[in-house]
Symmetry: none
Subunit: 259 residues, 2 copies
């Protein structure tokens, strides 16, 4: 028996909006720890990892570990039927092949429930090593999103370089080259507006902008984003989910074969 009650239902709505373009089908895993998901995108280049810790739910009951395969597009459709300030409850029976999403509006006079068939999916649990990164940058998520969008109008790939000076995003395309540098900046009104560079070793890697733009769909989940880089390791783009966990996107660097 599984029963998870999430007061801030719109978190779940946003999470699905953030994932559904990248991943079509995925297994959600429930344990006493929390509600989580790990999935690769269809081209097996990027990976999403979601964690919503049990403590973040108003009520969390998970009698035994359970894996629920769902089509994220369908889940997203269902969640579109939830109001932005609805309370969402997820229910499933052990051994059952369906999951039920229940939405209660704040006035408590409208209750919707949606039952969806589960899918049987191969789980591809990739042990993600908890690596030490050469560089980690925290910056306003909206700024990162804007940069990725802007650069993708010039080129397809971006070189992200971190030095003590700051983080530099460079691209080149038919119409020219572009470089955007964000310097460390901690003298701001609100800590969320800060750009903080933590660097052990300078690093410079190339990524496909297409995926980064997909990742930034999560922007509304958090005012800040954390970008971690190491040579030879996938980039990590992490959005914290208030009091509950995170959504992390991993993306393998491109091997630069020209020049």
């Amino acid at each position: 028996m599984l029963e998870l009650r999430l007061v801030q239902g719109n978190l779940l709505k946003k999470v699905l909006e953030a994932m559904k373009d990248l991943v079509t089908d995925a297994n959600f895993d429930c344990s006493v720890t929390g509600f989580s998901l790990q999935a690769m995108d269809s081209s097996h280049v990027a990976l999403v990892a979601l964690l919503l810790r049990s403590e973040g739910f108003e009520h969390y009951r998970c009698d035994r570990n359970i894996t629920m395969g769902m089509n994220l597009n369908n889940v997203s459709k269902l969640l579109k039927c939830a109001g932005n300030d609805d309370i969402i409850t997820i229910k499933a029976d052990d051994g059952g092949d369906t999951v039920t999403f229940m939405f209660e509006n704040p006035k408590q006079d409208k209750i919707s429930d949606f039952e969806m068939k589960l899918m049987d999916l191969d789980s591809e649990h990739l042990g993600i090593p908890d690596a030490e990164y050469h560089a980690t940058v925290r910056m306003p998520s909206l700024e990162f999103s804007r940069i990725c969008k802007d650069l993708s109008s010039i080129g397809d790939t971006v070189v992200i370089s971190v030095t003590k000076e700051g983080i530099k995003f460079s691209t080149r395309g038919d119409i020219g080259n572009a470089n955007i540098v964000c310097r460390q900046n901690t003298t701001v009104d609100k800590p969320e507006q800060a750009t903080v560079i933590q660097m052990n070793e300078a690093v410079s890697l190339t990524f496909a902008l297409r995926y980064l733009n997909s990742f930034t769909k999560a922007t509304s989940l958090s005012e800040t984003v954390t970008i971690s880089l190491s040579s030879e390791l996938p980039l990590v783009v992490e959005y914290k989910i208030a009091d509950m966990g995170y959504i992390k996107f991993y993306l393998a660097p491109k091997i630069e074969d020209d020049e």
Copy 2:
């Protein structure tokens, strides 16, 4: 001679927006009582009935009953030329074959008039029996609209059931089943937000969501909608038009041929 002056011209604009997707051509009937219309949709499944009582007009002159056939799409196009707070005057000569719409802006420095040829249409005046309904539900029109829209992302038809508990909307589709229950709720700040159930007998009927979604185009005419159901009778969805009358939509239930 016909001359109707409507100060709140945007009512007429909204009325036409609400009808034009459902009905292509229709006869408008004028009598001393008021300005009315009854028409079936092109597939003869739904019916619209409009009434704007003469008292709602600033000036209402109708020397003799007159029937004016119009293409609602064309009328709607003309009305798009009226400003939202223009005063609209409708004029026609007895025995003439044209109608004139005149728009005056609030500052009274711009006057437009549009003359349109009338059409000769068979009138299909369906005596709508003033039935006693098994159940009548009044609820916020926006909520009804939202429910119909949400459910149509899951399925094509909706089962509407009324019990003492409330009104339930159910659908099923490829991705799963959905149920939305609205409980009676009169403890709200504004009476327009209340959901009021009046039931003599429990009732459960099936309708095509496509039509309901068409009806909800009238949502902006009124904050509340009244839904009346009886087994074997068409559903009625009524939007009151402030101080003037109503627009009512009738829809025959689907006969459930499976199970």
